[in-house]
C-alpha cells in the first residue's frame, strides 16, 4: 500500500485490511527540499507512519529522491525552458509509482501495489484498463493513463468506488490522524510561499520577452517567457485591444509571445506523441480529456506511425504543447499521449 500520508491512501489501506489482504505500508521519500506538505515531505512520512501504526501494519520508507529528480523535477524544469507545459504528477505516476515502486515491490515478492487514487480498474475482453473513480469531481484516472494493461494486473485502487465524503467518514470512524488533512493541491515540490517563479528562477534563466499581436506588432512585454502558457489570458503586459486576447504561440528562441483573439486559438485537430496504450492501438471515436479535471470532448482518433492525430468533433482551443491528452471510451482509459 503506497501510503502518501494523505487521507485517501490511509483509508485505502484500511479497506484492503477489511478485505482480508496482508498489507504492508510503503512511503516513498521523493522530495528533499521545501514542501507545503501534501505529498511525501517529512511530515507526510510521519503521518503515513502513524497511520500504519494505527492500522497495525508494517511500514517502510524508500528513498527514491534521485529518481524523482531525474524523472520528475528535472523534466519539469526542462519543459519550462522549452516552453512546454509539463505535468509532473503524470510523470511521477509513469516513472515512480508504477515503475520504480512497482519493480521494487516485484523484487520484494508483493502481489500488488495499491494506491489511494480515485480510480478503478475495469476489465474488458480479458484485459484491464484504468477507469474513472466513482466521485466524478475527484476522478484521477487522467493522471493514471501511463499504466498499461499488464501493469494494471498488479495494481489496485481500493477507494475508487467511494466518494470523497465517504473516504473522510471512514477515516474519522477509524480515528486516523489524516481524517481531516486537506488534499494536496498543486505540484508537491513547489511551495505556496515561494511559488513556481522562484523555484524555476533558481534553476533556469527566466528571460524577459516581447509580446506581439498576430501582425507582429509589439504590444507589450513579459518578465519571463518561460512562465507563459498557450491559451493564457492574464498576467501579460499587453497594451490596447478591445477584445480579450490569448497567448496563441510562444517562440522560445526569439523570446516572443504572440497573442490573438480566441478564434486564433481554435484548432480542429491535435497531434499526440509518446502514446501509451493500455492494450494495443485503436482508431475510432473517443472522448479525449485534456486536463486533470476538464470535460472530455468527442474526437476521432487516427493512429499514425509516431503517434495519434485527434480530429475534434467541434473546434476547440489549442492544447498547450507538453500537455497530456487522455483517450476514454465508456469511462475506461484506452491510453494517452502528449500534445506536440
Amino acid at each position: 500500500m503506497a501510503l502518501s500520508g494523505g487521507v485517501d491512501s490511509s483509508v485505502a489501506a484500511a479497506v484492503l485490511l477489511e478485505q482480508g489482504h496482508e498489507v504492508v505500508g510503503i512511503t516513498m521519500k521523493l522530495w528533499g527540499g521545501e514542501s507545503d506538505s501534501g505529498c511525501c515531505s517529512v511530515s507526510d512520512v510521519d503521518d503515513a507512519r502513524r497511520v500504519a501504526q494505527q492500522l497495525d501494519i508494517d511500514h517502510y520508507v524508500f528513498n527514491f529522491s534521485e529518481e524523482f529528480d531525474r524523472y520528475v523535477v528535472d523534466p519539469y524544469v526542462q519543459a519550462h525552458r522549452d516552453n512546454r507545459t509539463p505535468n509532473p504528477c503524470v510523470e511521477c505516476n509513469r516513472h515512480l509509482k508504477f515503475d520504480v515502486l512497482l519493480r521494487r515491490c516485484d523484487e520484494l515478492g508483493f502481489d500488488a501495489v495499491a494506491t489511494g487514487h480515485h480510480a478503478r480498474v475495469c476489465r474488458v475482453d480479458g484485459a484491464s484498463f484504468v477507469a474513472r473513480g466513482a466521485d466524478a469531481a475527484k476522478d484521477q484516472s487522467y493522471v493514471l493513463y501511463p499504466l498499461t494493461s499488464s501493469a494494471l494486473e498488479r495494481v489496485m485502487f481500493p477507494i475508487g468506488h467511494l466518494h470523497k465524503s465517504e473516504v473522510r467518514e471512514q477515516a474519522t470512524r477509524l480515528g486516523l490522524r489524516t481524517a481531516r488533512k486537506p488534499d494536496s493541491q498543486d505540484v508537491c515540490f513547489i511551495t505556496h510561499t515561494h511559488g513556481r517563479e522562484t523555484f524555476l528562477g533558481d534553476r533556469i534563466a527566466l528571460r524577459p520577452g516581447r509580446v506581439v499581436d498576430l501582425e507582429g506588432n509589439e504590444i507589450g512585454t513579459t518578465e519571463a517567457v518561460e512562465l507563459v502558457t498557450i491559451g493564457q489570458r492574464r498576467g501579460l503586459n499587453a497594451a490596447g485591444g478591445t477584445e480579450p486576447r490569448y497567448v496563441v504561440d510562444i517562440d522560445p528562441a526569439s523570446a516572443t509571445v504572440t497573442m490573438g483573439p480566441r478564434e486564433a486559438l481554435m484548432v480542429d485537430a491535435t497531434v499526440l506523441k509518446n502514446m501509451v496504450w493500455a492494450r494495443g492501438t485503436r482508431d475510432g471515436e473517443v472522448f479525449a480529456q485534456t486536463s486533470a479535471h476538464g470535460s472530455p470532448a468527442r474526437a476521432r482518433c487516427m493512429v499514425a506511425d509516431d503517434g495519434v492525430e485527434l480530429r475534434w468533433d467541434e473546434a476547440r482551443v489549442r492544447v498547450a504543447p507538453g500537455q497530456s491528452v487522455v483517450l476514454y471510451v465508456n469511462d475506461c482509459v484506452l491510453g494517452g499521449g502528449i500534445a506536440s
Binding site: 521519500k29 520508507v61 524508500f62 521494487r104 516485484d106 520484494l108 515478492g109
Partner: protein, 377 residues
C-alpha cells in the same frame, strides 16, 4: 512469516541488561528530586552520586568531572559548544564523526579532517590543521558505521604537544563496550557516553570532563550538575546506566574475545555464502571494533535487501538514515571514497553481549536467502 527476531543492530541500541532494568524499576519508585534537602531528596541524590562515583572509576575521570545528560547527542553538543577557551575560534573534527558531533561542529564553522580508505583519521592532516586558534579537536573512539578504531590517544598527545590549551574530546559512544576508557582517560580531556549502547536505558548519557576543563553550560535553569547542566536528573536512568556500565566493564575483556570470534565467523560464512558480498572497509579487522560488520552487495539495493531481511525477522541497518526514516547517502562511506554502487548496496550488521553463535548462523542463512531472492528478480 517467521516469528523469530534476529537482532543485529546493537550499534543502534542494545537490549537492556536485567540488572539495569532492575535498578531502573527500583529507582523509578523513588519520589525524591535530588535537588531538594529532605530525606527523600537525599535518597535520590545518593543514587546519582553513587552512579557518578561508579562512572568516574570505570572511566578514569574525577567524580566532579561526570556530567549526566539525556544521552550521547546532548553530551556531544555540550562538549562542542561548552569546552575550550571561548576566545579561541576554531573547532576541528574528523570527517567521519557521528552527526551529533558533525552538526554542532558545522554550526561552529569547524574544519573536517580527512580519513584514509579505512576510515582512520589522518594524523598528518590533524597536525597540519590545528593552530593556536584551535579551541578543540574531537575524534570519536569507534566509528558507528564501519567500526574503525581511531588513534585518539595519539591525536590527544599530538594536540597537547602543539598547544596545551587545545581541548581534546572523544565521542566514546560506540567505544565503551569494547575499549577501556581508562586507557585514554588520562590523555583526552573529555568523553561522551550513551547508556543504551552498553545495556542501559535510552535517554540518558554523560559527558566526562577532565578537571582542567571549564564547561560553559548549554542548558540553563536550576543549576544542577554543579551549574553545568540544568534540569532534574533522570535518577532512575542514571542509576541504571551506572549498573549497566559496571557490568559491561566487568565483561569487556572476555566479551571482546567472544564477540570478535563471532564476528569473524559471521564474515567468513557470509562471504562464502554470498559471492556478491564484500567487506566495505579494506584492511585488517584488528583495527575494527569487534561488534561491527559492514558489508556491501554488488549490484543490489540494500534498501530492498533490508526489507526482505526484516520480513524474515533479521534486524540490520543501512547505518545512515534521514529525518523521514529513509536511507540516506552515508557521509562516512563518502569520506572513505567508495563509489555509488557501494553506497547503494551497503549494510551494517552489529553484534552485542546477547549475540550467540546460533544467531550468527541463522543470520547468514537469512541474508543469503534474501540476496538470492533479489538477484533472481
Amino acid at each position: 512469516m517467521i516469528q523469530r527476531e534476529l537482532y543485529f543492530d546493537h550499534a543502534a541500541s542494545c537490549p537492556m541488561r536485567p540488572e539495569a532494568l532492575e535498578a531502573l524499576h527500583h529507582w523509578s519508585t523513588e519520589v525524591g528530586n535530588p535537588s531538594g534537602s529532605h530525606r527523600a531528596a537525599r535518597r535520590a541524590r545518593r543514587a546519582i552520586d553513587d552512579a557518578r562515583d561508579q562512572l568516574s572509576e570505570l572511566c578514569g575521570f574525577e567524580p566532579r568531572g561526570v556530567i549526566f545528560t539525556s544521552g550521547g547527542t546532548e553530551a556531544d553538543n555540550l562538549a562542542l559548544h561548552g569546552l575550550g577557551k571561548a576566545s579561541r575560534g576554531t573547532v576541528v573534527v574528523s570527517a567521519v564523526e557521528h552527526p551529533a558531533v558533525i552538526e554542532p561542529a558545522r554550526q561552529l564553522g569547524a574544519t573536517l579532517v580527512d580519513v584514509d580508505a579505512t576510515g582512520t583519521v589522518n594524523l598528518e592532516a590533524v597536525r597540519s590543521t590545528i593552530s593556536h586558534d584551535c579551541r578543540m579537536v574531537s575524534v570519536m573512539a569507534v566509528n558507528n558505521e564501519i567500526g574503525s578504531v581511531q588513534p585518539i590517544a595519539t591525536v590527544a598527545d599530538l594536540c597537547r604537544e602543539f598547544d596545551e590549551d587545545i581541548v581534546v574530546h572523544s565521542d566514546f559512544v560506540q567505544g565503551f563496550s569494547w575499549l577501556d576508557p581508562r586507557t585514554v582517560g588520562a590523555r583526552v580531556d573529555a568523553i561522551s557516553l550513551s547508556a543504551h549502547k552498553f545495556g542501559g536505558p535510552k535517554g540518558v548519557g554523560a559527558l566526562l570532563v577532565s578537571s582542567r576543563c571549564a564547561v560553559r553550560p548549554q542548558l540553563l535553569g536550576g543549576g544542577q550538575e554543579a551549574q553545568r547542566r540544568s534540569g532534574t536528573p533522570n535518577v532512575a536512568g542514571i542509576a541504571a546506566m551506572a549498573v549497566a556500565a559496571q557490568k559491561a566493564s566487568n565483561e569487556r575483556e572476555s566479551e571482546v574475545i567472544r564477540v570478535s570470534r563471532l564476528r569473524d565467523r559471521l564474515i567468513q560464512r557470509l562471504l562464502a555464502a554470498c559471492p556478491s558480498a564484500a567487506l566495505t572497509r579494506p584492511g585488517p579487522q584488528a583495527a575494527v571494533s569487534p561488534h561491527i560488520v559492514h558489508v556491501n552487495f554488488a549490484g543490489l539495493s540494500s534498501e530492498a535487501l533490508l526489507v526482505l531481511c526484516d520480513r524474515e525477522g533479521l534486524c540490520a541497518s543501512a547505518a545512515a538514515s534521514c529525518a523521514s526514516g529513509a536511507k540516506a547517502n552515508s557521509h562516512v562511506l563518502m569520506a572513505i571514497g567508495v563509489d555509488q554502487s557501494v553506497l547503494n548496496g551497503s549494510l551494517r550488521l552489529s553484534l552485542g553481549y546477547t549475540t550467540t553463535e546460533s544467531e550468527i548462523d541463522q543470520a547468514v542463512e537469512v541474508l543469503a536467502a534474501c540476496v538470492e531472492k533479489l538477484v533472481a528478480v
